[in-house]
Subunit: 329 residues, 2 copies
């Protein structure tokens, strides 16, 4: 059933996809906004929008699962604000939004700490086989087999950060505490940070034992971690990805992992989520995570608040709390 129609004079917020924060927004702010949900309707999306969303000025959309295409925008003549619940914006058509003069509010740096925490967790997990050990014990194998396979030392390892923005910097800070030696590749050298900079990603890979992918997905970063980078990283090298799946050539990654041409991988993101290559399911040196880097109880409380504040600001003609302004990236 469609949730169209007006509840008094509440401002209307169109919701596409299934944002994690929607239930808490609805429970806390249903007296402030009216949420219009095409997902509750049997109508095809574009037909729903053309029928019920003509006056919608604000749109809420999660970071994954649905692309905000021109076809959708064409059905939303009144749209002036997109609020997205992610920090990455690869699901938005930025030039198109700019052309239409639609503002964007996003999660900003809300998730930085959580993503960095998980990146380090995945790295430790791959090297020290934490998930595989948990399986070994929980399947009752320990008493009979006794010896579990040896892990690899983290402390002192050469770690390459791919993308030294906010998240990458936090990952580096954490890994310094483990005595790791940090270097990085990024669009630009960060003169205020003490780590060696490699303008060439292959050179970074050749000088590191693990790469941690912390950048966003853009035309430039798509499949940036390709065969050549993996060759440079070497057969003992480890890849951790908390950026976006398509930054890595996943087919090549899977092939090398299966054939033992990479040391291991810790992946929170995939090219075709939630589909994950099944060939990885039996590998103890591969830790798979269902795109949860930003998902903590605490971050969802913060995000609910932030989305509401951005919507409030917009409907009161005040400046957005976390506007996205760098349309060039």
């Amino acid at each position: 059933m469609a949730s169209g129609g007006h509840s008094g004079d509440l401002p209307e917020v169109l919701v596409l996809g299934f944002p994690w924060v929607l239930p808490s927004l609805e429970s806390q702010f249903s007296n402030r906004f009216q949420f219009l949900k095409p997902s509750n309707s049997d109508l095809p999306l574009l037909q729903f929008l053309s029928s019920f969303a003509q006056s919608a000025r604000a749109l809420l959309i999660p970071g994954g699962g649905i692309q905000l295409t021109s076809a959708i925008l064409d059905c939303l003549p009144a749209l002036k604000l997109v609020v997205t619940t992610s920090s990455g914006l690869d699901h938005l058509d930025l030039p198109e939004l700019r052309r239409r003069e639609i503002a964007i509010a996003y999660a900003g740096n809300l998730f930085t700490q959580d993503v960095a925490d998980l990146a380090v967790g995945l790295l430790i997990d791959v090297l020290r086989k934490v998930s595989a050990g948990d399986r070994f014990v929980k399947q009752g194998i320990w008493p009979s087999k006794r010896k579990f396979s040896l892990g690899l030392k983290l402390s002192g390892k050469q770690i390459g950060i791919v993308g030294l923005g906010k998240i990458g910097t936090e990952v580096a800070k954490r890994l310094e505490g483990f005595g790791c030696k940090i270097s990085y590749n990024s669009r630009t050298k960060k003169p205020t940070l003490p780590y060696p900079f490699y303008s060439d990603l292959h050179e970074l890979a050749a000088n590191c034992e693990a790469l941690i992918i912390c950048c966003g997905l853009t035309a430039e970063t798509r499949h940036m971690i390709d065969r050549d980078v993996m060759v440079a990283l070497g057969r003992d090298g480890v890849i951790v990805n908390v950026g976006r799946g398509a930054i890595v050539d996943e087919t090549e990654l899977v092939r090398r992992l299966i054939q033992g041409e990479l040391g291991g991988a810790g992946l929170d993101v995939f090219e075709n989520e939630p589909e994950v290559p099944k060939e990885l399911f039996n590998l103890d040196n591969v830790v798979l995570s269902p795109h949860v880097a930003v998902l903590t109880t605490e971050s969802m409380v913060g995000l609910t608040q932030l989305v509401a504040e951005n919507l409030e600001a917009f409907f009161s003609n005040k400046p957005l709390v976390t506007p996205f302004e760098d349309y060039s990236s």
Copy 2:
């Protein structure tokens, strides 16, 4: 078949249990030492020792799996050195060894970094549900169920270190990189370290969201983490144990985890290893690890070398490389 008898004039090293490093010691140092292995014999241990180990001056014993009792020592009249492959010495009867004037060489600080790394890995894993997420993806549940449960934030958490020795200090250093607030309980206050000291363990627990147990097992620390400490920690509290299983009242821990009276646990050690309470096998907020905190490829290379160096030193009447001298603890 017994491995008794002499290979030329090589000094004899009796081996009890199954030290991880034995294969690499044998492959690298079989021209330096003769390893006498009761485990290869069908004879009962004490009978083997009385028949074949009367002249053994040095003994190699792992840190887990076998207790070095007076009954064993009574069968070894020539024994002057125990080399153990662990840093914890709870499997040795220290007063008895001192009385018999038997020296001890141990692993010293060789494992400090690896143990601290795993402690942090277990904490992240419990809070961020890394192993549970890996299971969720590898069992193919993600595409149909879509949403995995939310984790808990690590960054900013109040973490209590139980036992601020070498390992505890390294854990604290790592967690500072995550923006955690560290406090600790220890036998003595460490005036050179900046963290708040709680002489009362219950008070520490009451002021923390997670406890990381980094101390050794002694008469004083046995079941130190008891019901009262768990109550003080609270129903959202997390316990990570990389010390020894018996420091925790395991029965009480299991009961509270099952009944939801604790937030979670990351356990590398257990009271009756390798037996682990099966009631924990289905809990997503419990990460179980088969006592591998010290086990990395790199540490085993270092340990093989260290054991050989201690044996060389002993048989050449030189000072041990890593003697254990604090028999009081």
